[in-house]
C-alpha cells in the first residue's frame, strides 16, 4: 500500500481487505480517535488504525475491554474528535449500555460490528447476520440509531464515511453492521480524490448560552460544543433538560427529550435511508437483502432472468431506520417477498410488519459455519413460490 507523506486520504485504486477499507474510510471521514479491543473478525480494523492514525495526527488506543473502548470513544467525541470503535457480536453486546448513553447524550460516534456466528462465543471466525436486532434494540429504553450494511470492501470504505457524516449531522451513534465475509474479503477499492469526498461536521453553537440538548423543534438536532471551550457543559445519561440539568422525576422533561431524540431520526428517515433497487417495475417476485447475502441475490437475479423470471431486489444499505415506504411499494407489485438472511429470522419480521397483507413474506434462513446462502438456494425458493 502506498502512503503519501501526509497521506490522510489515499486516493487511487487499491486491493484492500474490507476491514482495512473500513479503517481507511474512517480516516478519510476525519476520524482521529480509535479505541478498541481485539476480537475476530474485527481486529484488523484496530491493527490498521494503530498503524495509520499516529501518522495523520490521531490517537489509537487498545483499551482493557469493549466497555472501556466505547467509553473512551464517547469521551473523545466530547473532546471534539471524530471517534470510532470496532468489534464483533460479543464486544458489541458489552457496548450496548454506552451506546444508549451516546443516544441519550446525543454523542456522534461510529461503532463497527463485524458480525460472526453467535450466540455467545459461537463460531468466532465465521460469518453470520445475527446482530440485526441487537443493533436496533441492544440498549434499553426508547431510542433510535442508524445502522448501515456494507456488502463489499468498497462499501466498507464508502459507508464508513457515510456513518461518520450521519453521526455528525444527527448527533447519534451510527453502527456499521458488517459481517465476517465482507470484513475479510479482499477486493478492489477506489478512493476518490479528497475534493470528491463529502465530509459533514457537527454544528457548533453560535453563542455560549445556546442550549445543546434541545430547546428546538422535535426534528432538529441541537448544536454540539466540545469540552474545554468554556461552555460549562453538563453532560449526563440521566434525563436532562435542554441545558443538561438532571430532571429525574419530571415526566414532561423526559417525554420532550426522548421523543425528540427518537423523532430527529424517524422524521428525517427519508433523508437517511439508502437502498439499491433492481427490477422494481416489472418484478414477478421480490427479494429483500443486506450485507454479504446480497451478493448471492445479484447472482440469483441473473439466474432467474435466464429462466424468464424477473426478480425485484431491494438491497438495504440502511437497515435502520427501516425503509418502510420502499418495501411497501414492492409489496404492492409482487405476491411474494423473500428475505434471505444468515440467521433464523430477524429482518424478515420487520418486512412482515411493514408488508402486512399486501404480499406473502418468506424467510430463507441459514446459520452455522459461515456458509453463505447460495444463488441456487435463492433461485430454488423463488421457483417453489412461483409454482404454487
Amino acid at each position: 500500500m502506498s502512503e503519501g507523506k501526509h497521506g490522510e486520504i489515499l486516493s487511487g485504486v487499491h486491493f484492500w481487505q474490507g476491514d482495512v477499507a473500513c479503517a481507511e474510510g474512517a480516516i478519510a471521514a476525519g476520524c482521529r480517535f480509535f479505541a478498541g479491543y481485539p476480537i475476530t473478525p474485527a481486529s484488523e480494523i484496530a491493527e490498521h488504525m494503530a498503524k495509520r492514525l499516529p501518522k495523520v495526527g490521531g490517537v489509537c488506543i487498545q483499551m482493557e475491554d469493549e466497555i472501556a473502548s466505547i467509553s473512551a470513544v464517547i469521551g473523545a467525541s466530547w473532546g471534539g474528535l471524530k471517534a470510532m470503535t470496532a468489534t464483533s457480536g460479543p464486544g458489541f453486546s458489552l457496548m450496548q449500555e454506552n451506546i444508549g448513553y451516546a443516544c441519550m447524550t446525543e454523542t456522534p460516534c461510529v461503532i463497527v460490528d463485524v458480525q460472526r456466528v453467535g450466540p455467545s462465543t459461537g463460531q468466532a471466525t465465521k460469518a453470520a447476520q445475527g446482530d440485526v436486532m441487537q443493533a436496533r434494540w441492544g440498549t434499553h429504553g426508547d431510542h433510535e440509531v442508524i445502522v448501515l450494511s456494507p456488502n463489499s470492501p468498497q462499501e466498507m470504505f464508502d459507508l464508513t464515511i457515510k456513518a461518520f457524516n450521519l453521526s455528525e449531522i444527527y448527533r447519534v451513534p451510527v453502527i456499521v453492521l458488517a459481517d465476517e465475509i465482507v470484513g475479510h474479503m479482499w477486493e478492489k477499492v477506489y478512493v476518490p480524490p479528497p475534493e470528491e469526498i463529502v465530509i459533514q461536521n457537527r454544528r457548533k453553537p453560535s453563542h455560549f448560552s445556546e442550549p445543546v440538548f434541545g430547546g428546538i423543534s422535535d426534528v432538529e438536532v441541537p448544536p454540539m460544543p466540545q469540552i474545554g471551550n468554556g461552555f460549562n457543559l453538563l453532560i449526563t445519561g440521566s434525563t436532562h433538560n435542554e441545558y443538561g440539568y438532571r430532571k429525574t422525576v419530571d415526566p414532561e422533561v423526559h417525554r420532550k427529550l426522548v421523543i425528540r431524540i427518537v423523532n430527529k431520526i424517524r422524521k428525517n428517515a427519508n433523508k437517511i435511508i439508502d437502498v439499491e433497487v433492481q427490477n422494481m417495475e416489472d418484478a414477478d417476485i421480490g427479494v429483500i437483502s443486506y450485507g454479504c447475502t446480497s451478493r448471492s441475490v445479484y447472482d440469483a437475479v441473473i439466474l432467474a432472468e435466464e429462466k424468464g423470471i424477473k426478480v425485484g431486489h431491494i438491497r438495504l444499505r440502511t437497515i435502520w431506520p427501516f425503509p418502510e415506504k420502499i418495501v411497501r411499494e414492492l409489496a404492492k407489485r409482487v405476491d411474494f417477498i423473500l428475505v434471505p438472511e444468515m440467521n433464523l429470522g430477524q429482518l424478515v419480521y420487520e418486512v412482515e410488519r411493514v408488508v402486512g397483507c399486501e404480499a406473502h413474506v418468506k424467510a430463507i434462513s441459514k446459520i452455522g459455519g459461515g456458509e453463505m446462502i447460495t444463488p441456487e438456494e435463492i433461485l430454488s425458493e423463488i421457483r417453489k413460490l412461483l409454482e404454487r
Binding site: S71, I74, G80, I227, N232, G237
Partner: protein, 277 residues
C-alpha cells in the same frame, strides 16, 4: 457586607444547596478540592474537565461544579476520562466518584488506567458501601459488617485501594479521611501539579446508609471513629501490625512519564522518520 465563601466562584450557585444527606462527607471533599485550587491560584475551572460515574459521590461535580462535566454510566468514568484526555491533552481531567463506581463495577478501568499511567487525577470517595441504592455491601465494606445485602454479616474482605492502585503503577497515591482536611488539600495540590495517574482515596462518612449499621449514627460519630482508627503511614513498619486501622498518608510519589507524554514521543519519532524520507 458578608464575604462570599471562596468556593462559590467554582460552583453553580443556582444548584445549591446540594442534595447530599445531612452529615455526608462529600461536601468536605468538594470543599478540600476547591480549596486546593484556590491555594494554587485558580480563579475558575476553565482549564479543567470533570468526569464522574453513578452514585452519590458522582454528584459532587455534576451539577455543582461550574465547569464541563461528563456524568457517565456506572463504573466507566475513568474510561470516558481517558478518551477525553487523549482528545484534549491540554485539559486537566479529574475524576471524582465513589468506591462502588470506581472500584466495584469499574475496578478494571481503575487498575488499567493506573498501569498505563494515564494522565488523570482520580479522587475516590470511599464510604464503604453503595449509599445511593440503600446501603448494600461493596468491595470496600469491612469483613463481618451487616448491610442490606449481607444481613448476617459480610463474608468478604475489602480491597486496600491505595495499595491496589500503587501496585498497578500509579504515579501518585494518597489516602486520607474527611477528618484530615489539611493533609488532603496538600495531597490534592501535589497531585494536580503532577502528570501520570494520580489517585487519592478519601474515606468519607455515610451516616444514612452505612454508619447506622455499625452503631455510628451521625456524620460526627463516624468522623470521630475515623480519627481514632487512622494511623499515618510513617508510623508503621508493617501493614500486619495495624490490621484494623486505616492507614493514611501518601503511599507513593513516582515521576514516570505519563501516557500522553509517551504517546507524544512516539508520534514525534514517527514525524521525524517521515520528514527524513
Amino acid at each position: 457586607m458578608t464575604k462570599k465563601h471562596f468556593a462559590l466562584k467554582f460552583l453553580r450557585e443556582e444548584t445549591l444547596p446540594t442534595a447530599f444527606c445531612p452529615g455526608c462527607g462529600s461536601g468536605i471533599v468538594m470543599n478540600c478540592f476547591l480549596k486546593a485550587l484556590e491555594e494554587l491560584g485558580f480563579h475558575d475551572l476553565s482549564g479543567f474537565a470533570f468526569v464522574s460515574g453513578i452514585g452519590c459521590a458522582a454528584w459532587c461535580v455534576s451539577p455543582y461544579f461550574k465547569a464541563d462535566s461528563l456524568h457517565t454510566t456506572h463504573g466507566r468514568p475513568i474510561a470516558f476520562a481517558s478518551g477525553l484526555k487523549l482528545a484534549r491533552p491540554e485539559l486537566n481531567v479529574v475524576v471524582i466518584s465513589g468506591d462502588g463506581d470506581i472500584v466495584g463495577i469499574g475496578g478494571n478501568h481503575l487498575i488499567h488506567a493506573a498501569r498505563r499511567n494515564m494522565d488523570l487525577l482520580v479522587i475516590c470517595i470511599n464510604n464503604f458501601n453503595y449509599g445511593m441504592t440503600g446501603g448494600q455491601v461493596g468491595p470496600t465494606t469491612f469483613h463481618g459488617v451487616k448491610t442490606t445485602t449481607t444481613p448476617y454479616g459480610n463474608p468478604e474482605y475489602p480491597f486496600d485501594l491505595a495499595r491496589l492502585v500503587d501496585s498497578a503503577g500509579a504515579n501518585f497515591v494518597a489516602r486520607w479521611t474527611t477528618v484530615h482536611v489539611r493533609p488532603l488539600i496538600n495531597s490534592i495540590k501535589k497531585a494536580l501539579k503532577k502528570g501520570g495517574f494520580r489517585f487519592i482515596e478519601v474515606i468519607s462518612q455515610c451516616p444514612t446508609s452505612f454508619g447506622r449499621r455499625i452503631g455510628k449514627h451521625t456524620g460526627k460519630d463516624l468522623m470521630i471513629w475515623f480519627r481514632e482508627k487512622s494511623i499515618h503511614i510513617s508510623k508503621i513498619q508493617d501493614d500486619r501490625e495495624v490490621n484494623d486501622k486505616i492507614i493514611v498518608g501518601e503511599f507513593v510519589n513516582r515521576d514516570k512519564p505519563g501516557f500522553v507524554r509517551r504517546l507524544h514521543e512516539i508520534t514525534l519519532k514517527l514525524r521525524e522518520k517521515y520528514d527524513e524520507n
